[in-house]
């Protein structure tokens, strides 16, 4: 039996080609993902492990604010502790570090790197006067307020040479210290593309902490002392509840764990999309094997007639699948390694700096890839295999084999209807349940998708019949194409379903993303009347000088800071937002249910309705608050407003809050100009701030565009990933058409003989392809919009301004795409059909 099966595979090489490619692509996606994520996470782990080379024990402040009774205040480490730590038995030396944000501008005034990975720290010379972590490549270590050192990559990117003034900013104002030296480092942040600026320790302390305080102490052990032993010694000297010691190994392990956790998220996402592709591939495999079995009916019946058991027949089909799956998996694996390497290169070319490292290719990857390829293929071939076993031996004698009975379609339709109905009910039920409807909706969506898939053969007839008038315009080719497309409804359905799945996901995502984007725009324009928003590039606190400076600038009519401060209210953590009580009313357009901003000031505050409801407050309610400095105070509610995701929580006058703040800084400024937002006004503001690289000046459009950018990027990535599923679906269409052409070669030969020219034949195949693709497209887009709407209902319960936006433009693009898919998929089968040798075709059989 196995020899027969193997011969069959070889005999049908060409017809199995699309199946092999489909499985291969899926496997390549899976193995590519594994290779890529393994490689990247290995590289990051290596670089982070290197970063801990010089560290045996780290002392960090304990970040438990409740223990000190002062909200949000982390204790810092003192010079005294540093000296003690350096002298415990087994300690070779101790290094104190302070670090924070440091924006470096290049020569054009642009920020180097991203806001979040622009760091500054202190250069801590050891006994020999050098800091082992930062070997100087050029120049010397920074000394005094007016010198800094930069890591080599950053200096290189920004074009600074030793001796140049470096344009930079820590918390707002621009400073221009001299570049004293350039160093190299194993710091993980720098390896990943961030920038690092070093000051001498007193300057760094001045900037990031308080004189004599450190944010971290690193202790190096003597060569005979283990990290654990050193930690035990250090634990003895640590002040209780204020600091804790961790070994360097644990920190490295934790970071490695963090990296691999982060990677596993990416990996699961990518594998999810690979799963979609493979799932789509299943349809192609099942189609191909169904056809192969149908074509071999006589042969299989003969095998049965001469004594092969049903199980042997099924097994022979499955064995064919095994061979096909193995070949596809092996080629897919090879392609996957290429993809993994290519992806890393791609990331490098789009500017994301990835640490170097060898390509990681594990046995796990090999086994997963092979298993996935083989299992998927055999799973898909299982049903055709069972059908093959059902062929009666007598079929060997008769010329026609009974096709699938109508009864089985009745059963199929009933099952499909039940699934679809349950699915719709689940999704609709989910929309009424607000945030709790997620599971129900997910279940409903899966059921509906299955239901629609099961029902596609039934749906294909009316839907395709609906286009008959259009098809008639294309004469006899159009008419024949339409009829051919519904001739084998199961096959058409499986082919269209493959395309449907991809388009459902794509459309659903587009609907959701577009709607959320719109709601954010609305939020920005409706709730705020400020023209500009000013913040640090990395959204760290901004010096209060910035507001003072801008308030006096020409054309600025009103400003307010937004100062956030942690607080305890009735034992719960809340955030207080300090604003300018006089101007906030001019800068926002909030709906007040009770009271207004006018009453704000002193102990009178305003609060959003959700928070008010949580605490049972209304206008005039009094409550006790514990400020971040630990002092208690009484505040009174003077207004309740409708909050949104941009403005919410408790707002009070900044002057009430300031005395309790450890450091008075602004998170953000809002300001209004006399003439509204304009490029000139924005430039003027930027100029007023000295074209500072660290400060972001955004108008409303910038704010919503920044958010839109995130969405667009996300959406484009999803499109890219789903494109894979669409490509597999295209293979499916090609496969189905090739099968149709092959099966109908006699008809095609006859049509040619009685006078249909090659163009007519080509057009017929193309139209059939178009019909199938558009059918899948319409189903997919329809389902996608429905799912998008349903998920939107869930989002709406959390996002007050949510509004469904049906992306008609995009949808027509998708439909056009489905049409293009149809035309492209038909290229090769149509050519084949047109080239068919008429006589051979007519004589066949």
């Amino acid at each position: 039996m196995f020899r027969t099966a193997l011969r069959n595979v070889l005999a049908h090489k060409a017809r199995l080609l699309m199946t092999v490619i489909a499985v291969m692509l899926g496997v390549a996606f899976v193995s590519g993902t594994l290779v890529f994520t393994n490689t990247i996470s290995q590289a990051y782990q290596n670089s982070s492990a290197k970063g801990f080379d010089h560290v045996d024990v780290v002392i960090q402040p304990e970040n438990d604010d409740d223990a000190t009774g002062r909200p949000g205040d982390a204790p810092r480490l003192t010079q005294e502790l540093l000296e003690q730590a350096g002298q415990v038995p087994g300690a070779a030396s101790a290094t104190g570090t302070v670090s924070g944000f440091a924006a470096i501008a290049d020569k054009d005034g642009k920020l180097v790197g991203e806001g979040w990975d622009s760091r500054g720290a202190n250069y801590y010379p050891g006994k020999d006067g050098e800091d082992v972590r930062y070997p100087m490549k050029d120049g010397k270590a920074p000394q005094g307020e007016n010198e800094i050192a930069l890591d080599a990559k950053t200096a290189d990117r920004a074009g600074y040479k030793v001796g140049d003034p470096v344009r930079m900013s820590i918390d707002g104002p621009v400073i221009e210290p001299k570049l004293s030296g350039v160093f190299t480092t194993d710091d993980g942040n720098v390896a990943a593309g961030g920038s690092l600026a070093l000051f001498d320790t007193p300057t760094a302390q001045q900037l990031y902490a308080k004189p004599g305080e450190f944010s971290e102490i690193e202790v190096q052990a003597k060569s005979a002392t283990s990290q654990a032993a050193l930690k035990a010694e250090i634990d003895k000297i640590l002040p209780k509840n204020e600091a804790e010691a961790t070994t360097g190994k644990k920190l490295a392990d934790d970071q490695a764990q963090e990296i691999s956790d982060g990677m596993s998220g990416i990996r699961s996402t990518l594998l999810g999309f690979a799963g979609v592709s493979l799932f789509v591939g299943i349809f192609i495999i099942a189609n191909t094997f169904t056809m192969l079995v149908a074509q071999r009916t006589k042969e299989l019946a003969l095998l049965r007639a001469v004594g092969a058991s049903r199980r042997q027949v099924t097994r022979s089909v499955l064995f064919e699948a095994l061979v096909v799956g193995t070949v596809a998996a092996i080629t897919g694996l090879a392609a996957g390694v290429g993809i993994g390497a290519g992806l890393r290169g791609l990331m490098g070319s789009i500017g994301a700096t990835v640490p170097d490292g060898p390509l990681v290719f594990t046995t796990g990857t090999v086994i997963t890839a092979l298993l996935v390829g083989v299992v998927v293929t055999m799973l898909a071939a299982w049903l055709p295999g069972r059908r093959a076993a059902k062929i009666p031996p007598v079929a060997a004698m008769s010329s026609v084999h009974a096709t699938a009975s109508t009864k089985s379609l009745v059963v199929r339709n009933s099952i499909g209807a039940v699934f679809a109905a349950a699915g719709v009910a689940g999704v609709l039920g989910g929309t009424t349940m607000g945030g709790d409807g997620k599971e129900l909706m997910g279940l409903g969506a899966v059921l509906l998708l299955i239901g629609v898939f099961v029902l596609t053969p039934l749906l294909s007839r009316p839907l395709i019949a609906a286009v008959a008038p259009v098809m008639r315009l294309f004469g006899v080719s159009g008419k024949l194409a339409r009829q051919n497309s519904v001739r084998n409804p199961r096959r058409t359905a499986a082919t269209a379903s493959a395309l449907m799945i991809g388009l459902t996901l794509i459309t659903g995502m587009t609907v959701i993303a577009g709607s959320v984007q719109k709601s954010i725009d609305k939020m920005a324009t409706e709730a705020l009347s400020a023209d500009y928003f000013v913040s640090m590039a990395n959204y760290t606190p901004l010096s209060t000088d910035v507001e003072k400076q801008l308030a006096q600038a020409d054309g600025v009519t009103a400003t307010t800071p937004l100062r956030t401060s942690p607080a305890h209210i009735k034992g719960e953590n809340e955030t207080l937002t300090g604003v300018n009580a006089q101007t906030i009313g001019k800068l926002t357009k909030l709906d007040f249910a009770q009271g207004s901003f006018d009453a704000m000031g002193g102990d009178k505050i305003v609060v959003d309705s959700d928070t008010a409801e949580d605490h049972g407050w209304k206008n005039g309610s009094e409550f006790t608050v514990t400020y971040e400095d630990g002092e208690k105070g009484t505040l009174r509610v003077a207004g309740v407003y409708e909050g949104n995701e941009m403005i919410n929580g408790i707002m009070l006058d900044k002057d009430t809050l300031a005395p309790h703040q450890r450091e008075v800084t602004d998170m953000q400024l809002m300001l209004k100009t006399a003439d509204g937002a304009s490029p000139a006004a924005k430039d003027a503001l930027k100029k007023e701030l000295g074209n500072n690289p660290a400060i972001l000046v955004q108008d409303k459009k910038d704010v919503s565009e920044a958010i839109a950018q995130v969405f667009t990027l996300l959406l484009n990535m999803l499109y890219g990933l789903l494109a894979m599923a669409v490509i597999v679906a295209v293979l499916g269409v090609i496969n189905t058409l090739a099968m149709s052409v092959f099966e109908r070669s006699q008809e095609i030969g006859m049509l040619r003989a009685i006078g249909l020219d090659r163009r007519g034949i080509k057009r017929m195949v193309r139209m059939e392809s178009l019909v199938i693709s558009l059918f899948g497209g319409v189903l997919g887009i329809g389902l996608g919009v429905f799912f998008g709407w349903a998920v939107g209902e869930l989002i709406a319960s959390a996002l007050s301004t949510y509004e469904l936006v049906v992306p008609w433009g995009r949808m027509s693009v998708f439909l056009a795409m489905a049409a293009v898919v149809g035309v492209l998929a038909a290229l090769w089968p149509a050519r084949r059909a047109a080239k068919l040798n008429m006589l051979a075709a007519i004589k066949a059989e």
Partner: protein, 256 residues
Amino acid sequence: MTTTPLAHQATAVAARATDLSKVYGQGETQVVALDQVTVDFEQARLTAIMGPSGSGKSTLMHCVAGLDSFSSGSVRIGDTELGSLKDKQLTKLRRDKIGFIFQAFNLLPTLTAAENITLPMDIAGRKPDKQWMAQVIEMVGLSGRLSHRPSELSGGQQQRVAVARALASKPDIIFGDEPTGNLDSRSGAEVLGFLRNSVRELGQTVVMVTHDPVAAAYADRVVFLADGRIVDELREPTADGVLDRMKRFDAKGRTS
């Protein structure tokens, strides 16, 4: 029985092959399917081409019908020389001037009987001649079954649809490739009767390839092929007469 020279014809010629040769392969493996065949097919006549298998009878028909290319010589349908035509022109010629009947019926299963019959006109984008259609359908006796699909018709009925399809566009000449090969003798007789009627009553020209002497007996004239050459012909044949000739070729074939 007399063997009249092929060139001597009383009636007009619908199709003519002159020194027609068809050679497959090259060198040692070369096979000559047709060897300088010259033959006329007269208008309003039913001509049968006979010969043992491998004699080249189907090849001759395919070449004359514009379905296959030939190596040398010339083929004319009416005034059109086929040798100089491109595929596109050949297709058009087949569509407008030629009708076909195949052994395996070759109907489109998705179309009804009526749609199958008008298919050549649909392809050409022409409206069928209603009166002619009625006449043809009446003749083949399909009036009650026009809306049936091929799968709902018997083999004989399917071939009648095929005959009607071949006649529908009033072609200059109809070629049949073993038109009764897949039919039982009664259905076969019916189909042959229609073909003969279409010649006698409707004035059509029919050329058919067959290896069945009974079928050949319906023809006005039988042309015998052996080893790619015309070896004999018979006018007003009877089944016995044809069988008799065939036996002679077979015997010759065996002894040679």
